[in-house]
């Protein structure tokens, strides 16, 4: 890659000043996706010396530094035990271990990648992002707002969810991007459902969530209605990987299967 300077700031302010100085200055997270998309940069800004590569846990929170790799998330015991380990499972099927050893959660989030397997899991975990300038922003809001390329993501934060969850990625081969990915969580806060790679960026199925939360008993009829509400709210279309109709069939099958799995876990 053509780069005039590789810089390793030792303070966040220094990194921030470098970033806003020129539009062709870029932050490197893990570099896995950058290799495929960016051909030149004036300054490459490395965040490796800013202590952002740690997973911190308290009694009720998990905080993942933006430079933590996908492999570290996948193998972390606290994350594996949070909501049936849906975030670990989401990482598990991303490329090979070599790529997961460099790709970071910060890069995955800031890249706004529509195929990302992390997004549905982070949405149902009700994650928030902490930025250097913008402070705390909910992940759901972040995905709906314009890109925040002139800020620095510090960490991703979510509550230790004691509930149960389900994650599913559908892809043609182990190395391929998702044709569809979805996550379901059920905890004291109720049901949360998110679908991504439709091929649009992941979003929450809010009307299906409210409907499930109001249903006293979940049977076949309620599940059918939930699927209908998901299909009405989450837009699907064709792309090179799959047709709109195929994606809708996948949603029908996996939303029901996921709800059943979650209920079985709960009982």
């Amino acid at each position: 890659m053509f780069v005039s300077e590789y810089v390793k700031p030792t303070t966040l302010e220094e990194a921030y000043q470098q970033l806003i100085k020129d539009k062709t200055n870029h932050i490197i997270a893990g570099g896995a996706w950058m290799k495929l998309t960016l051909k030149s940069a004036s300054h490459l800004i490395s965040l490796e010396d800013l202590d952002l590569n740690r997973i911190l846990t308290t009694n009720d929170m998990i905080e993942i530094g933006s430079m933590v790799t996908l492999r570290e998330i996948e193998t972390n015991e606290h994350i594996k035990n949070c909501c049936s380990g849906i975030l670990s499972l989401a990482c598990h099927n991303i490329m090979g271990i070599n790529v997961r050893n460099i790709a970071t959660i910060g890069g995955s989030v800031m890249g706004r990648l529509a195929f990302s397997d992390l997004y549905p899991a982070l949405l149902v975990l009700d994650a928030t992002l902490v930025f250097y300038k913008a402070g705390e922003v909910s992940f759901a809001d972040f995905l709906k707002s314009p890109k925040m390329d002139t800020d620095i993501l510090l960490c991703v934060r979510f509550a230790k969810n004691q509930g149960k969850g389900y994650f599913r990625k559908v892809a043609t081969t182990a190395l391929d991007f998702a044709i569809l990915n979805l996550a379901i969580a059920h905890s004291e806060q109720g049901w949360r459902i998110s679908v991504g790679a439709t091929p649009y960026v992941a979003s929450l199925a809010t009307s299906a969530m409210s409907y499930l939360n109001e249903s006293k008993r979940i049977d076949e009829v309620v599940m059918e209605q939930t699927v209908q509400l998901v299909l009405e709210e989450i837009p699907c279309t064709d792309n090179i990987r799959a047709s709109k109709e195929y994606r809708e069939q996948l949603i029908k099958a996996y939303i029901k299967r996921g709800i059943k799995k979650v209920i079985e876990h709960v009982d």
């Binding site: 590789y6 490459l44 490395s46 271990i97």
Partner: protein
Amino acid sequence: MLIKTIVNNEPKTFVCEPGEYLLDTLRKNNYLSVRRGCDNTSCGVCTVLLNGKPVPSCSVFTASVEGKEITTVEGIQAEAEKLGHFFGSEGADQCGFCNPSLALTVYAMKRELKHPTEQEVREYLVGNLCRCTGYIQQERAIMDYLEDES
């Protein structure tokens, strides 16, 4: 720029451009067992160990490896030879282009996973593409290697 690193337990200083990738630096410095395949993070043949972990060297900036340890297949010669013996017994070898990177990944797996199942082995090795032999013989050879205590 100058980057100080340790390759196969030997201190090395590389001269590189700021946007240079580790794969290019290593090959320029005659570490030719590190192969260039797809050059876009997909095939795995450029894998080296960085502080003991497998990484695709085509996507790691050389500037980021300052002070870190790099291992190529030459750094695990005895283990690679042992694995090579099992590959030979199972007929799991044809052109050999992907062997150095696969050997490094299998070596890292042996140190990380205790008594993995076939499924776990397959999942660990996703992203190490072989375009000639196929994976069945490789899997048999790798399972034998993992069970070998010698």
